[in-house]
Structure formats: structure tokens, C-alpha cells
Amino acid sequence: MFRIIAKDFKIFLTDRRAVMLTFFLPIMLISIFAMAFGKEKENNAQPINLLVCDEDHTNATADVITQLDSIKSLRVTMIPLDSGQRMVKTGNESALLVFHKGFKDSMDAGKKIPIELLYDQARAPEVGILQQALMSNLMRIIGTKTIMKREMERADKQFSNLDTSILRNIHKQIEAGFNQSAGDNTGGIGISMTPLIEDKQGNLGLIQAIAGTSVMMLMFGVMAMGASILDEKEKGTLKRLMYAPISTNSLLFGKMITSIMVGVFQLAVMLIYSKIMFGLDLMHNFPALILLVFATAFACSSLGVLLASVARSRQQVQMLSTLIVLSMSAIGGSMIPTFMMPPFMQTLSHLSVNYWSIQGFYDIYWRNLAFTDPDFLMRPLVLIAIGTALTFTSQFFYKRNVLKMT
């Protein structure tokens, strides 16, 4: 029995694919999920982006914004209202803080202060963290100022007969006292929360499920399709194809076009299923959907063909494709929505095909962007650019590795 165990271990350890899938892949996925969901180290915490629009244009708003900007956990960017709203609507930012006109007057009068946080409901977790940070800090800044101002006015009334220099001294003492106890006074300041994009029909989860899963499964499908190049080489049919009076490029592109067509068909089947079972409206923005489906299939197919051109055997393709598809899916938002990830992971997600495709689906079904909207068009264009770059690279490796006959 010992010999059988020893033999099986030896075989297992010499099988690089098995070792990679057993150890490396889970470690990588754990790392990605931990980074997305796990507690970040305090000193590694990235500041949260905060778009701010000042409609009041007073010293009071400038003062509050300066104080917000000085907070380490926030990175403040000033922006006009229209641009800010668009940034949120197109998914580029999660929220916009607006200081409406009358902010100073309301603060002076001790009335409800017009501050509004416009946000994307799809990014609720991110907005939740932002809201929490804003509440505590704004209440500390504005709340203190409002009460301090009220106390000073009360002192002015009560001691109206006193000399102005003495009154100034009283003001200073009140200010010092409030500064000492800053953070304890949070009296009555509220931020009104307004979603710019609302999940009225509970579509958000559906979009994420359909887009995330479809893109991931498409990648698996076309990777296998690309790997058939190596099957052809191993079986000898590739050599026979090379004997035929056709160019070597037509062999590669023929394979790629088949892969794209299978990919488009696969996505179409998944979307039709989603319509039948979950009521996904396919005609909602049909041209945009068609463009996105083709761009996604192209990018994924190119990746599959590149992998087949670089790898030496089908086993290697299987190992690499599992690794690449799962890691791209994990960082690109197929498994976890990217807005739930920390900022550096969100940046990293841009490297995956999944990200651009899933964001395209969000643009169509969540953000309701038009086909001609540059923010939407960017997604398929990036996918096409990725596909083109990978195709050129595949062509190089295909000639160097696959077509090399000895």
C-alpha cells in the first residue's frame, strides 16, 4: 500500500497541471476574494473618491470642503453639477456630494442644511461606506459650527451691554470650548440621499448574474474552441491543412471566426434563456447589445487562440485557461461585482475582458446609456482593441509555435 501511495504522490507532483490547480489556483482565488471582502490593513486603506459640487459658492462651503479634503480617508474632487451627475450615471464614480444654494444662509439661520448625496444604487456598498464617512465628518464640521454660532449669538444678546472687546473674548472662549469638544456635537445635520440610478424592478442582481456568468462561461467555451488548434496539430489534420493551397493566415482566422461565431451563439442562447426565465428585455437597447456581444466574443476568442498559440499541448491550454478564466472572472467582476472591491482591485479589474463586457451590460441595462453614448461605446471599443492586440500576438506565436513542423 505504501508503494501505491508513494507512486501516486510522485505522479501527482510531476503533473504540473494538477499541482497548479490544487494549490496555486485556490491560493490565488482566496487572495482575490480576501482582498475584495476581507478587512484591509489600516495603513493600506485607500482614500475614497468623493465628487463635490459647490452650488453655494460661499466662504462657508469653501471652509467645509477644505476641511473634508483634509481628511485622510477622502479624496475630494470639485466638479460642476452636470458633469458630476454624468460621472455617477455612467458608472465612473459612485456618488456626488452637492452643497446646494443657501447652504450658508441655512447654517447661519440654524435651519436644515441643503446637502445632498447623489449616488448610483448599483454601488450601494461603496456608497454606504462613503455615507458613513461623510455623516461623521460633516456633522463634526458643520454641526459644531452651527451650534457654536448659535451660542455666540445667545451671548451677544445676553451681554449686549458689554464692550465689544470683551464680547470678542467671550467668542474666543466659546470657539475654544467647541474646538476642544469637537466631534461630540453632531446636532441635527442630515444628508439627503438621492439615487441617480434606481433599481426599480430589482434588475441589478439579474444583470450582474447574467453578465457575470455569461462572460465567464463564454471564456471557458471559446478557450476550449481555441485549444482545438492543438488537437489539429496532435492529430495531424493541421499538417494536412497546410498541404492545401490556402494561406497559413486563413487557417488561424478560420479558427478564430468559428470561435467568435460559437461565442456569439453561446451568448445569444444565454441571453434568450435569461429573457424566457427572468424576463430580461433583449430589445431594450438591441444595437448596443449586439455590438457588446460581438466585441465580447471577439476578445474572448482572441484570448483563446493566443493561449493555444503559446501553449505546447492541450493539457497546458486547459491548465492555463482554467487559471486565466477564473482569475479574470474573479478580478473582472464575474464572481463579485467590482464596486464591492477595494480601489486598487477596481483598477486591476480593468485588465480583464470580463470587466469591460460586464460594465457594458450595466451600461445597457442599468445605466440606460444610449448606443451612441461615448461611455458605453468605450466598453466594446476596448474589447475590440484587446481582441485586435491579442490576434496580432497570436499570429506571431501561431507561426512560431503551431505551424513549426519538423
Partner: protein, 308 residues
């Protein structure tokens, strides 16, 4: 029809071809024989356009292979060593696909597929998937797939490996029929009797060089052999094997514990051989004398058996 001049090819530091030259006439049946690693595959791969030579020229039917490979491919048919077919397609579907790559119009292609399947004795199995065929049947479809564009030149790479005698005989008949019809055929095989039966001329390649070529009679003359003396020993050992090798000419070989000595004068060499064995302490248990055939000629030129 084919003219190969000073062909050289190296893989890394290993020279696969060292400047071979040969010509094949139109309608000729040319056998290219050589032990494994001799350069046969490289030669055929170059002539059939899938490998580029480092040096040298190849002209096919007057066309320069380097400058117009696509035109050359149009008149070439290659029967690969592997069964290069799609298992999940039927014979008919496979042939339709492979024929279509040569731009044969559909009605003509269908007609040729019918003819080829008939010739290969597979008409009644045309709609069965290739994966359900026997090895011999697959080989026959493999050949048929190379004939659909009516090539002027046919390369056949060991077309009878691992098949039953019935399929083998059928393939011989087909190949002979194609030859009679005027097709130029370049044939590689590890079976001497095939080369002897089919080939008009034979080229023997070893270590990237053509070491001999001609008709079987010309090769007999070139080898200057009258026969081979085959000796079996009762007390053979690796040390004695080494002694034997150094004691006799380069054409001799030891195969399956049998010492094979190609001789140009058997009457003279046999006593000499027995004396030498006695000097080396070797005890022959069986001696036979074989007539000159392609196997012994091959051995004489390469020092190896064809299946090595």
C-alpha cells in the same frame, strides 16, 4: 517533374539535410528510403511546402517552390503518415471538406468522391463516422482525401502502416492504378517488399544525404554485392559485438543478435568470416547466405536495417 538541388536544413545545431540533390521524372514511382532520423520527413516536408529549407532549390513542374508555393500546392497531393481525418465526421463529409480546400467545384467534387470511395471499396460505408472505421479503412479514406483534386504528384508517407493484409493489397492496387494513369508518386516505407514491388527508382537517404539511388538493378550494381552472410552466435556479448563491428567493413550490422555481412564474393568471404570469428572466440551456431535484395543493399549503404 521534381528537381531538388543542394537542399540543406538544420534544426538548431543538428543538420537534418546536408545538401541533397535528386530529380524525379514525370510519371515516375520514386521510393525514398532511409532509417529513422535520416531526413526523409524533412525532405518530403520541404517538397510538399510545409517546411522551408535553409539552402537549396526545389522546382515542381517547372515552378519554383520558394517563389510560388500555392501554385505548387495545387498540383501536389500528400498522404500523411498520420490518419489526418476528423473522427466525428463521416467519410463523405471528410472528403467533401478536404476536397473543397482545393477549390474543386461541388458537382465535380461529389463525382470524384463517389469514384474514390468506390475505388477504395468504401461506398457502402460512406455515411459512417470515421471513428467507427477499422485502421485499414481509415488509411483508405486518408489516401482518397489526397486524390480529390487530381494531383500531378502524390507523396505517400508510409500508407500501409498498421493495416490488415486485405487493405494493404487494396492500397497497392490503387497505387499501381494511379501510377499507370501517369501520376508521379514519391513513396516512403519501412517495408522493403513494398518498395521492391512498386518503385521504379529508389533513393536511399542516411544522415541527411542521398547515399545511393537508382533502379533496384542499379542499386545492386552500385552495392557490388553478391549476397549477405548471416551468422548467429551462441556466445554473443556486447564486447564481442564491438569487436565484430571494428573487424568488418562498415556495411556489416548486428541485428537481433545476428551478424549480417554484405558480401561481394560470398565464396571468398565465408571462410574468412569463420576464421575471424574463431580468432575472436565467437562460436557460430547458424550460418545462412541470402541473395541480394533491397534489405541487404540498404544495410550495405546505411549500416542499418530499414526499420531501425
Amino acid at each position: 517533374m521534381i528537381n531538388v538541388q543542394h537542399l540543406k536544413k538544420s534544426y538548431g545545431t543538428h543538420p537534418a539535410l546536408r545538401g541533397i540533390s535528386f530529380s524525379i521524372k514525370q510519371g515516375e514511382f520514386y521510393g525514398l528510403l532511409g532509417p529513422n532520423g535520416a531526413g526523409k520527413t524533412t525532405t518530403i516536408s520541404i517538397i510538399s511546402t510545409i517546411v522551408k529549407p535553409d539552402e537549396g532549390t526545389v522546382t515542381i513542374d517547372g515552378m519554383d517552390l520558394a517563389s510560388d508555393p500555392i501554385a505548387c500546392k495545387k498540383i501536389i497531393g500528400v498522404v500523411p503518415q498520420e490518419i489526418a481525418l476528423y473522427d466525428n465526421l463521416t467519410a463523405q463529409e471528410n472528403l467533401m471538406f478536404w476536397g473543397s480546400l482545393h477549390a474543386v467545384d461541388k458537382p465535380t467534387l461529389k463525382k470524384r468522391i463517389d469514384e474514390n470511395l468506390e475505388m477504395m471499396g468504401l461506398s457502402d460505408r460512406r455515411n459512417d463516422k470515421v471513428k467507427d472505421y477499422s485502421g485499414g479503412m481509415k488509411r483508405r479514406v486518408n489516401i482518397a482525401a489526397s486524390l480529390l483534386h487530381l494531383p500531378k504528384i502524390l507523396f505517400m508517407y508510409e500508407p500501409t502502416v498498421g493495416i490488415d493484409p486485405q487493405s494493404r493489397n487494396l492500397i497497392f492496387e490503387v497505387v499501381e492504378k494511379l501510377h499507370k494513369a501517369g501520376m508521379t508518386i514519391i513513396y516512403t516505407t519501412h517495408y522493403m517488399e513494398e518498395a521492391e514491388r512498386l518503385c521504379d527508382r529508389i533513393g536511399i537517404i542516411d544522415n541527411g544525404e542521398i547515399v545511393a539511388q537508382g533502379t533496384l538493378n542499379e542499386l545492386r550494381t552500385q552495392s557490388a554485392m553478391k549476397g549477405s552472410i548471416n551468422v548467429q552466435f551462441g556466445n554473443f556479448s556486447p564486447e564481442k559485438e564491438a569487436l565484430l563491428k571494428t573487424s568488418f567493413n562498415s556495411g556489416s550490422a548486428i541485428i537481433d543478435n545476428k551478424f549480417i555481412y554484405p558480401s561481394d564474393d560470398v565464396k571468398k568471404d565465408l571462410p574468412k568470416l569463420i576464421i575471424k570469428c574463431s580468432e575472436l572466440g565467437l562460436e557460430p551456431t547458424h550460418i545462412d547466405i541470402e541473395e541480394v535484395n533491397l534489405e541487404t543493399i540498404f544495410l550495405k549503404f546505411t549500416g542499418k536495417k530499414l526499420r531501425d
